[in-house]
């Protein structure tokens, strides 16, 4: 009993930091409609800078000054980034902002290693609060009592700020209706910058107060960002009280989940999130988004079928790919195989996201299920490659059918967060269910059959399968079903009013996208000869997002270009450059600002019309 109470206090102490970060994200989202992926990075920066400052500022006053100063410095940095970067892309679709902030995250991860090194850093204990206080005979760190109080204090402060100050009123007004606020003559730029700075301040403070509790390391950002996403989604985006409530719920779930269900503790949090979202689609205290932005892709040009030139170009590309083994060595061929696999992965994500308007933060789930499907078949049934290639993706199909049923009940950001939750559930199962999946030891020995074991043969097998699947996706996009999917994205109201069953159509599209991702995953398992939980990890999902967005949502071929470009770049950079994340991140940021329509979109809009002049309009009207 006593132990449980202390565990409860433990949960509360963790909740405070989580709440600080989540409320920052929530406030930023409420006003600017930006889902700030870099929020975790700012949290991490807050912790690192606080660590450095506490090395110089000592004593009680010094310690707390250092924490506050660290948060202020990071907030100033945030304001600077908002003014120079984000301000340029407020009008872009929300995903581009996500991409830009993801680029920032990559940069910060490497900068942190460059400045502070890759080692974990142990911060000082808070002066005067080093000891522990006995609670019902159990020892409880004195500092954690301060943290427990901090959450409610900040919540109260935010409440006063929003209720009692003119600035707060403006923020609340902007959260409800940005257009109206600007029509009333409020300086939007200044409001956005200050809101962003406040949000970042809260994130950095959340990181700074953690240093006496846990070691500072360069992977804190992804860890916290997932939890924060979960918190804001459960609490309701844009609602600070919701964020507090959810932070407490999540932290207590974590604290007790470990005790009660050690095997599925990780799954528990995401399960709760999934249930909340299905029962209350806008979170516990959230409201439906008032000015839902046009779904991605609504403002874009119609997809175009290939003309004769396009078809010829595709045949040429395919022939070129078939000739690759003639001059490429084994290493280059395996790189090529990987590119093909990710092209299919990106194309499957595009089917769901670009065509279907269902943004997925967790497409890795189906990729990973396909890979594990093959892995488990080999491990337990000793299945040959031919059988596993067919049966492996079945696991992905099952996952997509199950998760899709929940996901299509939601839309927009909430749908995206739910896909993330399901991907994390899959990851947790693969990671924690040691007896079956081997945990982080993965499954080894997934080798192609003898006839396909030569890298060249496997390359051709992959090329044939991926080309066939991508062709199938393309046919689907231009089929009646593809049109129906696109219709549901463009206008739900119109779709329903001409007899289209939106949920069914989207569910089917979701399942198809999962299936193709699963096929890619199975091939990937055979390419690597093994499967590890990483294939289901967030980085894999984000890679997919980056590929699709980089290639451009507006074109059917874009994601394939994006996949090839991004994967080639990241494979090359990881082998050549020490701080490849920094370069890659900066590149993503620059690309988002320079080509908000993506590589292929840029091509279609700017370059291709120059050629098309000569070609007559093939789509002539009868």
């Amino acid at each position: 009993m006593d132990f449980l109470f202390v565990q409860f206090l433990n949960g509360l102490a963790s909740a405070s930091s989580l709440f600080l970060v989540a409320s920052g994200l929530s406030i930023i989202f409420g006003v600017t409609r930006i889902v700030n992926f870099a929020h975790g990075a700012f949290y991490m920066l807050g912790a690192y800078i606080a660590y450095t400052l506490t090395q110089h500022l000592t004593g009680v006053v010094g310690f707390w000054t250092a924490l506050l100063l660290a948060a202020l410095i990071v907030a100033a940095l945030g304001a600077l980034i908002e003014m120079t970067l984000l301000r340029r892309i407020y009008d872009a679709p929300e995903l581009f902002q996500l991409l830009a902030t993801f680029g920032l995250t990559l940069m910060v991860e490497d900068l942190v290693v460059m400045i502070w090194g890759p080692m974990e850093l142990l911060g000082p204990r808070a002066p005067g609060l080093e000891g522990a206080v006995p609670v019902f005979g159990q020892l409880f760190p004195a500092y954690d009592f301060v943290l427990i109080a901090l959450g409610p204090v900040v919540l109260g402060g935010l409440w006063l700020l929003f209720k009692k100050t003119r600035w707060g009123v403006l923020v609340r007004a902007a959260t409800q209706d940005r257009t109206m606020v600007s029509a009333l003559g409020v300086n939007q730029s200044w409001l956005f910058t200050s809101v962003f700075a406040l949000g970042i301040f809260l994130a950095a403070l959340g990181g700074a107060v953690q240093i006496p509790r846990e070691a500072v390391h360069h992977m804190m950002d992804l860890q916290i960002i997932v939890e924060v996403f979960v918190v804001v989604v459960i609490g309701g985006l844009g609602n600070v009280f919701g964020a507090f409530l959810a932070a407490v719920i999540i932290s207590e779930l974590n604290a007790f989940g470990i005790l009660l269900f050690p095997k599925i503790s990780l799954v528990l949090v995401f399960l709760v999130m999934a249930v909340v979202l299905v029962v209350r689609p806008h979170g516990l205290l959230g409201k439906a988004e008032s000015d839902s932005r046009p779904a991605i892709g609504t403002a874009i040009e119609p997809f175009r079928r290939f003309g004769t030139r396009g078809r010829n170009a595709m045949v040429a590309v395919l022939l070129g790919l078939a000739l690759v083994p003639l001059f490429a060595g084994n290493y280059l061929m395996s790189v090529g195989t990987e590119l093909l696999i990710f092209a299919l992965f990106a194309a499957s994500l595009h089917l769901m996201m670009g065509v279907g308007g269902m943004v997925s933060f967790g497409h890795a789930a189906y990729f990973g299920l396909g890979a594990y499907g093959a892995g488990l078949l080999v491990k337990y049934l000793g299945a040959p490659m031919e059988a596993a290639l067919v049966a492996g993706p079945v696991l992905a199909v099952a996952g997509a059918i199950l998760f899709g049923w929940f996901c299509v009940r939601l839309s927009g950001v909430y749908l995206a967060m739910l896909t993330l939750a399901f991907a994390q559930i899959v990851w947790s199962i693969m990671f924690q269910w040691y007896d079956v999946t081997g945990g982080d030891n993965g499954i080894l020995g997934i080798w192609p059959s003898r006839w396909a074991s030569d890298p060249m043969v496997f390359y051709y097998v992959t090329l044939a399968l991926c080309a066939a699947c991508i062709y199938a996706i393309r046919r689907i996009v231009f089929s009646p079903f593809g049109y129906a999917v696109r219709g549901c994205r463009d206008s739900v109201m119109r779709a329903e009013s001409i007899g289209i069953d939106r949920q069914r159509i989207q569910w089917l599209a979701f399942t198809l996208a999962g299936t193709f991702a699963g096929i890619a995953g199975t091939l990937y398992a055979y390419l690597k000869g093994s499967v590890f939980p990483d294939v289901v990890g967030i980085p894999t999902s984000v890679d997919g997002l980056v590929m699709v967005l980089l290639g451009g949502l507006q074109t059917v071929g874009g994601p394939i270009v994006g996949a090839a470009a991004y994967k080639a770049l990241s494979i090359w950079m990881t082998s050549q450059i020490d701080f490849w994340k920094l370069v890659l991140g900066a590149l993503i940021v620059v690309l988002v600002i320079a080509f908000p329509e993506g590589i292929a979109g840029f091509w279609q809009r700017r370059v291709s019309p120059l050629f098309r002049r000569s070609e007559t309009e093939e789509e002539a009207i009868p």
């Binding site: 609504t298 403002a299 119609p302 009646p480 129906a484 463009d490 329903e496 001409i498 159509i505």
Partner: protein, 259 residues
């Protein structure tokens, strides 16, 4: 035979009664106007008719079949087409593809994955576009159309299902005066040729009194008058509640039935 029989339709939002027992019928091939000041409950009434809103009580029968409790897409399948007050079309498709989409749904080909959608029902779509005078813009992206053209496109989409009843929510809102009369004339012609019944709401009294066979007046959730345009215009209740002093639409109609 009557196309639509609406009986004692009620709906309240919180304390506001948006429909306090609305009863009316729509005859076959009839152009019936539903008018009333802002907030009278016109849109609520429309949303109940196509299944978007579930009424608290009452019944709506389409050629004897109950509509209440059905979803919009089921109501559409029963033969009720609808155009929206604020147009809703598929912005990433061309004009003709929008109509083809409706035809694909009408022919129940939505889950076909093999054929190219662009090749299906193209002639049929083309005819519908010609009917509403949009054929010259068939290849344009829908997102780039002028508002009046979107309204005409919506009409083509609604007709694709060969509806028996057409609900048009402010079909001419946002159009230039001349366009309005043209669109309603077009609608009237199509409707009479195809035997479709039309229920429409409208703020432009020129349009209403020129084209409607019958007019109903809704105020605060209640029908306060119905009859021929002439009768409604002369109804003193309507004049005082809806038309103010009535000076504008006095005994002598101000209808220049625009050239």
């Amino acid at each position: 035979m009557t196309a639509l029989v609406v009986q004692d339709l009620r709906k309240s939002f919180g304390g506001v009664e948006a429909a306090k027992g609305i009863t009316f019928t729509v005859a076959e091939s009839e152009l019936l106007a539903l008018i009333g000041p802002n907030g009278a409950g016109k849109s609520t009434c429309f949303n109940m008719l196509n299944g978007q809103l579930k009424p608290d009580s009452g019944s709506i029968k389409l050629f004897g079949q109950e509509i209440v409790g059905k979803r919009p897409r089921e109501v559409w399948r029963m033969g009720v087409g609808r155009t929206f007050q604020i147009t809703a079309t598929f912005g990433s498709m061309t004009v003709i593809e929008n109509v083809q989409m409706a035809l694909l749904s009408h022919h129940r080909r939505l889950r076909a994955m093999i054929p190219f959608a662009g090749d299906l029902y193209r002639d049929e779509a083309w005819e519908l576009l010609e009917l509403v005078g949009m054929a010259d813009q068939a290849g344009r992206a829908c997102g780039t159309l002028a508002y009046g053209d979107l309204k005409r496109l919506e009409l083509a989409i609604a007709l694709a299902n060969q509806p028996r009843v057409l609900l048009m929510d402010e079909p001419t809102a946002g159009m230039a005066p001349r366009e309005r009369v043209q669109l309603m004339q077009l609608t009237a012609d199509i409707v009479r040729a195809r035997g479709v019944s039309v229920l429409f709401t409208e703020h432009d009294m020129d349009v209403v009194f020129t084209h409607a066979d019958r007019v109903m007046v809704l105020n605060r959730g209640e029908l306060i008058a119905q009859g021929s345009p002439q009768e409604v215009r002369n109804n003193s209740d309507v004049q005082s509640i809806y038309l103010g002093s009535g000076a504008l639409y006095g005994a002598e109609p101000a209808m220049e039935a625009s050239a």
